[in-house]
């Protein structure tokens, strides 16, 4: 079971959170072509290794935040707020 450190509430069990997929995805405007649009809607980084992803503390403060998590080991390397810059990967 994951234990995630919410930047607002501290460390809680996995079951209090909702996983929200890739972080730092830019939403394209309506002017883009079908290819670019579907890449935004459907494609996923799905990284094997350290992945930047969004989580929401639904059973707690209700806040969304970002997590740098190793999808192979489940180790969490960093937790940072929405809008903060991604941590430097080779740290």
């Amino acid at each position: 079971m994951l234990r995630i450190a919410c930047p607002y509430c501290g460390t809680r069990d996995e079951v209090e959170f909702h996983w929200g997929g890739d972080a730092h995805v830019a939403r394209p405007g309506p002017e883009v072509g079908d290819a670019e649009w579907s890449d935004y809607v459907f494609s996923r980084e799905n990284t094997k290794g350290v992945q930047l992803e969004r989580w929401c503390h639904v059973f707690g403060c209700g806040q969304w935040f970002n997590v740098a998590r190793n999808t192979l080991t489940h180790e969490i390397h960093a937790v940072y707020r929405m809008g903060d810059a991604a941590p430097d990967p080779d740290r």
Partner: protein, 173 residues
């Protein structure tokens, strides 16, 4: 409704509280916190109304003396010029008091948060998951906890606490 399980834990319904749900714009949090002395993260602050921290931009203001409208008015006055929304939520939440030597253990049968006195002293407030539903747990005093839960779940949570308490009691004797 008062439910007594052994002498070690009892569950009571707390009524007659005025509860206001306050949301403040992310852009003006600091000034809001100052003017109203709103609670810091995971804490309860003030005395009447008391403010319960639910999240960085959300508090519950609770009073057992004045009406919700009075609380809202003082909010609006205090937060003049600050984007916020304060609404009466007295009917939206049910409040249960779990008290007794075994109160922390009873809660621990249904929530993963760390309730050890050192980590969860009186005056702590946190929103978490208890018996599958979102619940605000406030530590009022050693072995006394108030649970704020969505009104629609009151029956469920009460049944849940009673059943869990009875099983735990027959386990621990």
């Amino acid at each position: 409704m008062a439910d007594q399980i052994g002498s070690d834990v009892r569950i009571d319904r707390v009524t007659g509280l005025s509860i206001v749900s306050l949301k403040v714009s992310r852009n003006q949090l600091d000034s809001a916190r100052k003017t109203l002395q709103l609670a810091k993260p995971l804490e309860v602050a003030g005395d009447d109304p008391r403010s319960l921290w639910l999240g960085p931009d959300r508090w519950l203001l609770v009073s057992d003396t004045v009406t919700a409208d009075t609380v809202i008015v003082s909010c609006t006055r205090g937060l003049a010029g600050i984007l916020h929304n304060a609404v009466d939520y007295s009917s939206g939440l049910a409040v249960l008091r779990v008290a007794g030597r075994r109160a922390p253990l009873l809660l621990a049968t249904g929530t993963g948060i760390d309730l050890r006195p050192a980590r969860f002293p009186a005056g702590t407030c946190c929103r978490t998951r208890l018996g599958q539903v979102a619940t605000v747990i406030v530590s009022e005093a050693p072995d006394v906890f108030d649970l704020y839960v969505d009104r629609s779940y009151e029956t469920y949570l009460t049944d849940w606490l009673a059943e869990s308490a009875s099983i735990y009691t027959s386990y621990a004797g």
